[in-house]
Amino acid sequence: MPMPSGSLTHLQRLEAESMHIFREVAAEAENPVLLYSIGKDSAVLLELARRAFYPAPPPFPLLHVDTTWKFKAMYEMRERMARDSGMQLLVHRNPEAVARGINPFDHGSLHTDLWKTEGLKQALDLHHFDVAFGGARRDEEKSRAKERIFSFRTSQHRWEPKNQRPELWNLYNAKKVKGESIRVFPISNWTELDVWQYIHLHQIPIVPLYFAAPRPTVVRNGQLLMVDDERFALNPGESPQLRSIRFRTLGCYPLTGAVESQAQTLPEVIQEILLTTTSERQGRAIDHDQSASMEKKKQEGYF
């Protein structure tokens, strides 16, 4: 942080706000946890948590709700960040999804539902977490613009749109009765560009998949998918081709569309994003599911 003279930069103010939110939760919650999903937003979230409590490690664990279908490079990054941060890493895989062999090829939206939505609820219940930090941002799509920073969930993890609290100044009301929980979004006011700039400014490690490299790919349903391991069942006529690609968002590899790109450095990636003409969520299949609006997903407990 350069010595501030005159007004703070927007990144300094966003950083200060996020650190403030982390500390408020640590002070008022009984058993918080950071939902770590390994993507760039999680990278910034984790960095801010570490800054909030430096020189101590953040006083809560990391939780990865795993689907077993993430990119290999993501698992590597997960292990590395847990080591570097000195935080406990909890990994939860829904035992029912494990037993039934749920996968994105055969099970469609059941995949997200069982691994992520149900898996998250299970993990929160199992460890009795009362606050879960997430990396959602208000600029991600139109319906998130009205999201609060503290989002209340019933003991069934349901989001009750009519029962949310007004947020004034930087005062957050974290009171709740036993069983209720709160999702807290410390980077609500960051935009995608802010996230990238912060990563650039502070050299925050991110999964290499964000940078362009030749990778084996197939085109399916108009999406450019990467064949990350042998579980990728090829359709007749499909054969993986090397293309120079990168990813704008990271999730389960069979569900995450890549873009063709030559951007190998962070400034090049940012340049490409700024000149690109499609908004971020287009890369994720979840939005294209029939009626799977974010709103509905949220009411069911998926972020």
């Binding site: 010595m3 007004s7 966003l14 200060a16 500390r23 009171k175 802010d194 090049e268």
Partner: protein, 633 residues
């Protein structure tokens, strides 16, 4: 599009490194837009997003398609569609208080708080305005200054927004007439003067046509001031101004990873701090020196308002969450009685005398409000008498906290003068408040140091001090059972006292009736008396209907953990009414008694009492024995 010269992104393609460097040094301005859809608010916000290139091509394509299909602007782009996602949600009954939009130019990042203009406007606007440096008040040039203009202006002024921009919109529909604009500005100036609003900037725009948004309008050469965007890029930001004030840092968190490090973390809300500065920790008033300012990127020589830091002290001074680190020679104040403006935000009206949580900066205390001194009509700014404050009402109220808090007037420092109220039962955020001043200095209150403790007194009596609180409907059997409990305890040589309606309503509380407010005060006094008596080492038994859970919880919180025993004498209304020992139900049913619990006034059963007595299953004697056993176990 016009405004083609306004292209903040030229650098992106030509020199990304230079672009990133420039954008790392942008400042942040938060603003709120006030006005209804009819004033072109959504169109203006959509226009700002569009003109600052925040619209992606896929969104633009969708926008163009939507504009032709459902837009209101013929073949032209309907910018309002960019931000309207709210209408459908409103139909689904989803509460929208504030939507936040983001855009950026080469000089600044902007966060726009967009509040729906209709119902709930007060609550929503106050929420959105609480974080804003600047407010845009939109006026439809064809309509001029309306009631809602005055309302919006008052609320932004109340919340202390220093930059007010009067945007006279839809100038294209009045032929860009200077006379129309000048008349509206003169009108507004007259109102602003009476409302105490000092300065404002007025400018004529057309959100739809793009006039005076990013560049001077060719249609209005008579306007010589800056267009909207350059104006937004140049106003002074509050957090910069706050740096000139004395140091204030509310402590959020004590950072203590090991025995060698003890730091105090918080967001600096006023002034600056340097290593070596003398600071005073409030409320204790202890003075020490800052030895380090710690961040992950290394120690800082100084830090300013708006930064989240961790400071270390040269001495071992007590300091914990809720304390405020202040400039040693210019500390904040400490008090427990205040006058404040309250904005009520929930359906259940303000209950004078009821205890709520008050959260101010990092302090959370119990607070009681008196009946409002007056309510403010936000359309006329008149003061009106009001017994309470309903949803969306604003009033001036005196309040008392249960312990002194560190504060400043809201005008001085928003972080130490702005607070929220939280309902103790529902945990909802029910009001926002702005402290004006303290009614007396809490420093003058000194607790008499008592050497003989309550524990010592109870020990002498060979018993635990306790309050056994009987609650239940009239005629449920509270007094009968409480009497039996007292007899049993007396035989066991225990020192007791029974408080009931007969010995309290006739003396201490004879000034109270049976309205909700009086019932609350009745219970508060009984609770205080019961606590004093238990301080004396007595086992206190109380038998009151005490219908509201909030007040019973209030008494519970007065008592040390484990010394409050709530006994719910559970008798169904039908049974109690059939017994009708005192003939009261009959009178109530005949309309001769008002506010009678169970008849025309509610009873809230305890959700988690220590003991529940089902009088249809247990005799009074059995019940009494069970209670004594639990008490003395």
């Amino acid at each position: 599009m016009q405004d083609a010269q306004y292209q903040p992104d030229n650098l992106i393609a030509t020199d990304i490194a230079a672009y990133l460097h420039q954008h790392q040094h942008k400042s942040l301005l938060r603003l709120i837009t006030c006005g209804s859809v009819d004033d072109g608010k959504s169109t203006l916000i959509g226009r700002l997003l569009y003109d600052s290139k925040m619209i992606f091509e896929d969104q633009l394509a969708a926008l163009q398609a939507d504009s032709r299909r459902i837009g209101t602007q013929g073949q032209e782009i309907d910018f309002a569609l960019l931000v309207d996602g709210l209408a459908a949600e409103r139909e689904q009954g989803i509460t929208i208080d504030v939507a936040y939009r983001f855009f950026t130019t080469e000089k600044r990042k902007f966060i726009v708080a967009d509040t729906p203009g209709h119902e709930q406007y007060t609550r929503n606007m106050v929420t959105g305005a609480s974080t804003a440096d600047l407010a845009i008040i939109l006026i439809d040039a064809r309509k001029g200054v309306l009631t809602q203009t005055r309302r919006h202006s008052y609320l932004t002024h109340l919340l202390g927004i220093r930059h007010l921009v009067l945007a006279v919109n839809k100038m294209d529909l009045v032929n860009y007439s200077q006379t129309v604009f000048d008349d509206i500005v003169a009108d507004y100036r007259a109102f602003a003067t009476t409302a105490g609003i000092g300065d404002f900037t007025a400018l004529p725009i057309s959100g739809f046509k793009g006039d005076n948004i990013t560049s001077p309008s060719a249609q209005m050469p008579w306007y010589s001031g800056p267009p909207l965007m350059p104006l937004l890029e140049s106003v002074e930001i509050d957090s910069t101004l706050a740096q000139a004030k004395p140091l204030r840092m509310p402590v959020q968190w004590v950072n203590r990873p090991n025995l060698d490090f003890r730091g105090f973390s918080g967001l600096i809300s006023g002034g600056a701090v340097r290593v070596g500065d003398a600071v005073r920790v409030l409320p204790s008033g202890r003075v020490t020196t800052v030895s380090r300012i710690v961040t992950q990127e290394g120690d800082l020589p100084h830090a300013v308002a708006g930064q989240s830091v961790t400071v270390c002290f040269a001495d071992e001074v007590d300091c914990s969450r809720g304390d405020v680190i202040c400039a040693a020679e210019m500390p904040a104040s400490v008090a427990d009685q205040f006058e404040a403006t309250i904005v009520w935000m929930t359906d259940e009206a303000l209950m004078p005398g009821r205890a709520y949580w008050l959260k101010l900066a990092t302090q959370t205390v119990s607070v009681r409000l008196q009946a409002p001194k007056y309510q403010i009509n936000i359309n006329t700014l008149e003061h009106m008498a009001a017994p309470t404050l309903e949803l969306n009402a604003i009033g001036v109220v005196e309040l008392t906290t249960d312990k002194p808090i560190v504060f400043e007037s809201y005008h001085e420092n928003h972080a130490l003068g702005g607070f929220i109220l939280i309902d103790k039962m529902t945990n909802g955020t029910i009001a926002a408040g702005l402290l004006h001043f303290s009614l007396r200095r809490a420093q003058n209150v000194h607790w008499q140091a008592l050497d003989i403790t309550r524990e010592a007194r109870a020990r002498l009596k060979n018993q635990p001090a306790a309050v056994v609180w009987f609650t239940g409907l009239s005629g449920s059997g509270k007094s009968t059972i409480a009497n039996l409990v007292e007899k049993i305890l007396h035989r066991m040589n225990r020192h007791t006292f029974l408080l009931d309606g007969d010995n309290v309503r006739h003396g201490l509380n004879k000034d109270l009736g049976f309205t909700d407010a009086d019932r609350i005060e009745n219970i508060r006094r009984v609770g205080e008396v019961a606590r004093l008596m238990s301080d004396a080492g007595l086992i206190v038994l109380t038998a009151f209907i005490s219908p509201f859970q909030a007040e019973r919880e209030m008494v519970r919180r007065m008592m040390p953990e484990g010394e409050f025993m709530e006994v719910y004498v559970d008798t169904p209304l039908g049974v109690a009414e059939a017994r009708d020992v005192k003939g009261l139900y009959k009178k109530a049913r005949a309309g001769q008694l008002q506010n009678f619990t169970g008849v025309d006034s509610p009873y809230e059963p305890p959700s988690n009492p220590e003991i529940r007595i089902d009088t249809t299953q247990l005799s009074s004697q059995e019940a009494a024995e069970r209670i004594v056993a639990a008490l003395l176990k």
